[in-house]
């Protein structure tokens, strides 16, 4: 067969959605890709398709507004794109950070998840996950929890680096108040119970 080495093809991947440039229309957010495409990959999409910010793609409402503003200014400089894209995504609280090139980054949703696991028929364990995202030292937290509720509490390692605090007994009710009192950084709205889908703690 062929003895020469086939040379690797260098593929241009869109800086915004991480797909090859020609697939941007199927990406998450075509509107954001359009200025990038104009700057880096002219010729992949015809100009008239790029210019119209119509709802052909999967653009969300607020992105369409921003894109309208942007497209009014002539000249797509790379500096413009990321900054307004940054606004659009920064405004949503706790949105997943989407890095250009689609690299995975650990999803840093700042929330505390409280789960109840039944150990024996009567006894259960309350698991608190996510405190470390608020800058809380887990070993201190577990000591305080144990003291306050007069039960055993320990720091347990999950399947990967994620750690959680296990507290014996069912303290799910009181724990919300305790967390917000002891660590004022943690807002009540960021605490979730697991009940087949998450429920906001504030109730």
């Amino acid at each position: 067969m062929a003895a020469e080495k086939p040379a690797p093809v260098r593929v241009l991947y869109c800086g915004v959605c991480g797909l090859p440039a020609e697939y941007c229309e199927f990406g998450h957010d075509f509107e954001r890709c359009k200025p990038w495409l104009r700057a880096h990959a002219p010729g992949v999409y015809p100009e008239d398709l790029l210019a119209s910010s119509s709802s052909g793609g999967v653009a969300g409402d607020k992105d369409v507004d921003k894109v309208g503003e942007r497209l009014q200014g002539v000249g797509i400089s790379a500096a413009d794109g990321p900054s307004s894209a940054g606004d659009a995504s920064g405004s949503k609280q706790g949105e997943v950070k989407r890095l250009p090139g689609g690299k995975i980054k650990k999803k840093d949703k700042q929330e505390v998840v409280i789960e109840k696991i039944v150990r024996n028929k009567r006894k259960c364990v309350t698991v608190v996950k996510g405190l470390e995202l608020f800058g809380v030292k887990l070993s201190d937290a577990s000591k305080k929890l144990g003291k306050k509720f007069a039960t055993g509490a320990s720091v347990v390692k999950g399947p990967t680096e994620k750690e959680q605090i296990d507290v014996q007994g069912d303290i799910s009710y009181d724990i919300v108040e305790f967390i917000t009192d002891t660590w004022p950084d943690v807002p009540e709205s960021a605490i979730f119970f697991i009940e087949d889908g998450r429920k906001v703690a504030a109730s």
Partner: protein, 181 residues
């Protein structure tokens, strides 16, 4: 198949011994004869090859922190899409028509009508249970990697049901993992 694949689905990572490394190299060489001259570059004998075991009997072959091939349950090794984009001619290609693209990109399996309608191209020699590259009508680059459930001739004649299983597609969990920490 990699729809929800993340760093946390990995259960173990082991550096394999040389005999296993040789075996993997051999089966990849058998499966993809077009890749033979490149095998030394991609899977050098000296550099440590790591096999990452993930849920659902999935193994990833990782070299220099970059996943290159994967296989399920000792099935044939399939290249990752990133690798396939660099060397598009190593696998047989099927082409789906434009309407199917968005479904395939969300992980759907490929139904026969997508391959037999105008805009779809079938390579007649392909038998069942082979890895194939899935291209899209009007696009240059591969869209997904699939495992045929029916041979090309059957797809044409029967024209119903799932033709190719969608194993790995653009922007799925494995695509997003360009490097493993």
């Amino acid at each position: 198949m990699f729809k929800k694949f993340s760093f946390e689905d990995i259960s173990a990572q082991n550096q394999v011994k040389a005999s296993v490394q040789r075996r993997i190299r051999q089966s990849i060489a058998d499966e993809y004869p077009g890749l033979e001259p490149l095998l030394d570059d991609l899977l050098p004998k000296k550099s440590p090859m790591i096999v990452v075991k993930c849920q659902n009997h999935l193994n990833l072959v990782v070299v220099n922190n970059v996943p290159l091939f994967f296989n399920i349950r000792d099935g044939p090794y399939m290249p990752t899409l990133r690798l396939l984009h660099q060397y598009p001619d190593i696998m047989k290609k099927f082409q789906v028509d434009r309407g199917a693209i968005k479904f395939v990109l969300s992980g759907a399996n490929i139904m026969c009508p997508g391959l037999t309608s105008p805009g779809g191209v079938l390579d007649n020699e392909v038998e069942e249970e082979t890895p194939v590259a899935i291209m899209a009508e009007g696009k240059q680059h591969a869209l997904a990697i699939g495992y045929t459930k029916m041979s090309a001739k059957d797809i044409k004649t029967i024209n119903k049901g799932i033709g190719v299983d969608n194993m790995h597609y653009l922007n799925d969990g494995l695509w997003k993992m360009e490097r493993l920490e």
